[in-house]
Amino acid sequence: MEMLKKIFKTCYDGIFEGTSKNTKIALYVLFALSALFIIFAIQILFWGLGYTDMDNNFTWGAWIIGDLGLVGLGGGAFTTGYILYIFRVDKLRPIINSTVLIGFMCYLFTFVFLLFDLGQPLRCWFGFAYPNWGSGVYPVSMLTEVFFCLSFYFMILVVELIPTILEHKVLIKNKYVAMIAHYMHLLMWTMAAAGTFLSFFHQGSLGGGMWGALYAKPVWYSPTFFFMAIVAAMAGGTSFMTLMPYIAGKIMKKEVVPMETFQLMARISGFIFIFYFVFRIFDIYKSAVVLAPMGGREYLDMWGGYYGIWMLVLEMLLFAGPLIFLNIKKFREQEKFMVIGISCGVGAIVTSKLSVLLHGFSAPNFPWKGFTAYTPTIQEWAITLGCFSIMILIYMAFIKWFPLFPHLEHNEHDAHH
């Protein structure tokens, strides 16, 4: 008992030592959410999905929204990595560790969400053991593709993350560790290249192709959705990768990443957003004019109920942020506009993912049926928010104990002298 108390005390001190009151409250909330996650996770895994508000019409819910968002936004990792390691834009170096960590967590929790969404989590390996590959080179099922690409890319992210862990101030003292970390950094471009290659597939499939391939559902069917999702991930991902360290810096009241890196990231994001916007407009136009009528539906009729056309309008409004504030130098160089820009960018991507799912499932399949609604149950909320809070906790832990922001360490080191 004494022993337990001691361990608890050590852990408690280790975590909460030297934190401000606000941070403490935030940490309590995050830990509470994580605890809820564990409780409800057990319920869902042992007693099934009946406790969710998903049903035979509204097949997927909060967790798939989480998946789409996480993968879409985690896409910033491969974009940043690619630009840094392949184009050798060294200005991005200060942000890469954070980017890789966020990417890693996004993918990790995508797996977690996917696992919860399976009715038979114990059979998850069937996706690898009996893939629906068909006879061609390319898999028949988009989900098969997601299974494989996601796993491979996740492994790459693990490899990319290892140097960050190895550079821990205790570990790096070991000469072998230092050597491994050094060479891994040097060889990271191969990983970045492979990661980008793989990312293209699963970003496309999970984010878009998966929905675009459902040819009998005019709400989703769109052959170009696959490619649009890749562009979306690049655009929104870079915004997200900028936003996260920025928020961290604000909370820590320290310059974790130099402003010029932020600026560059924002510029990249804004630039890709132009492409994404054009692509999205084209996609809406094509759906409305060609694809929906082909499936016997009127495009605007498919929008209705709780998740009506306002989602599309909101998405368009949010587009304005990155398009204007990130591309025009005058605005971008003002910090507040840059933040608005990247936040709107993230918002636009999240809204589009939400509308894919909520609007897609709520649209009736039969003419005499109305739009359906989806209200996640406590279990779904707890697991979704619990995962997010665990992500934040991991991020915080890395900030505290690992060299997530080399720039910060560098500065502190200078200050000492």
Binding site: G48, L49, G50, M54, D55, N56, N57, F58, T59, W60, D117, L118, G119, Q120, R123, C124, F126, G127, Y130, P131, N132, V140, S141, M142, L143, T144, V146, F147, M210, A213, L214, Y215, A216, K217, Y221, L291, M294, G295, G296, R297, E298, D301, F361, N365, F366, P367, W368, T372
Partner: protein, 278 residues
């Protein structure tokens, strides 16, 4: 001579025609289907979107567009439509649900029936999202059969576990049963064996007709080619110009279901399509 008969090539393509002018909505098909396919039993089955039943007796009214007393009511028994899809050049013919399954748990049989093997199913529900007819159901809860209800379970249909998708397979286990019996009588030709699914067998007005669509003499073929026949929400059927239709079919896959609804009531025909701007 005897050897000639042993023909392994499948000639059958099962299809169904449901005459809505004859359907009185009595619900016998639903009970028969539930009984035949060992549908799970729950104390309160009123959570309709989570209900596990292969055959849904859908009440259709035109009261969205019409006012009393110009309204009409019909019951529309809806099961899996056993879609075929079509060869669009880019993709070979496949039902909407089969191509999406990540674990090959669902497949089109040689007789055109879309099978679903629950023991292979991982429960991702992607096929449900893909199905335009809401024909696939998921075992949200563990299928329960309280007490002595277990005694009324059919041995030909296995009881699925929680967290898997199940669906109507046109009672194809009855076909296997009939094939068995035929073989015992010395009929080895698989194409000589006919069967009737539970819903069609119990229908008191003969509104549900089941048969072979490849056999042009069969009743179901005659019914499905009549001008009363319609397929639910499959809007491509409305395009009469063959050239245009062909072009469309080359552009995109369509569900192409094998269940036909027959009706002479124009309001019901309208209800089976998404009307423009309604």
């Amino acid at each position: 001579m005897e050897e000639k008969k042993i023909e392994i090539k499948m000639k059958r393509k099962w299809g169904m025609a449901i005459d809505l002018d004859k359907c009185t909505g009595c619900g016998k098909c639903s009970v028969a289907c539930n009984q035949e396919n060992n549908m799970p039993i729950f104390e309160d089955d009123s959570d309709v979107p989570k209900r596990v039943a292969f055959l849904e007796l859908m009440k259709v009214t035109n009261d969205k567009n019409a006012k009393f007393p110009d309204v009409k009511t019909a019951y529309l028994p809806k099961m899996c439509m056993q879609c075929e899809g079509n060869d669009s050049g880019k993709h070979k013919a496949d039902p909407p649900c089969v191509s999406v399954c990540p674990a090959v748990a669902t497949d089109v049989g040689d007789d055109g029936v879309v099978s679903q093997i629950w023991s292979r199913c991982i429960g991702c529900r992607y096929c449900q999202a893909a199905c335009p007819y809401e024909a696939r159901v998921f075992n949200w809860w563990k299928p329960e059969y309280e007490g002595s209800f277990k005694k009324s379970l059919n041995t030909d249909v296995s009881v699925a576990s929680r967290g898997t998708i199940v669906k109507c397979t046109f009672c194809s286990h009855i076909w296997k049963r009939e094939r068995d019996a035929a073989t015992a009588k010395g009929i080895l030709d698989i194409n000589a064996v006919m069967y009737t699914p539970a819903c069609a067998a119990i229908c008191p007005t003969g509104a549900i007709v089941f048969g072979d669509l490849n056999d042009h003499e069969s009743e179901v073929s005659k019914l499905t080619t009549s001008n009363r026949a319609m397929r639910l929400t499959n809007s491509i059927d409305d395009i009469k110009d063959p050239e245009k239709k062909k072009a469309l079919l080359n552009k995109k896959q369509f569900a192409n279901p094998k269940v036909y609804y027959l009706t002479s009531q124009s309001w019901l025909r309208d209800m089976m399509r998404f009307k423009k701007n309604s």
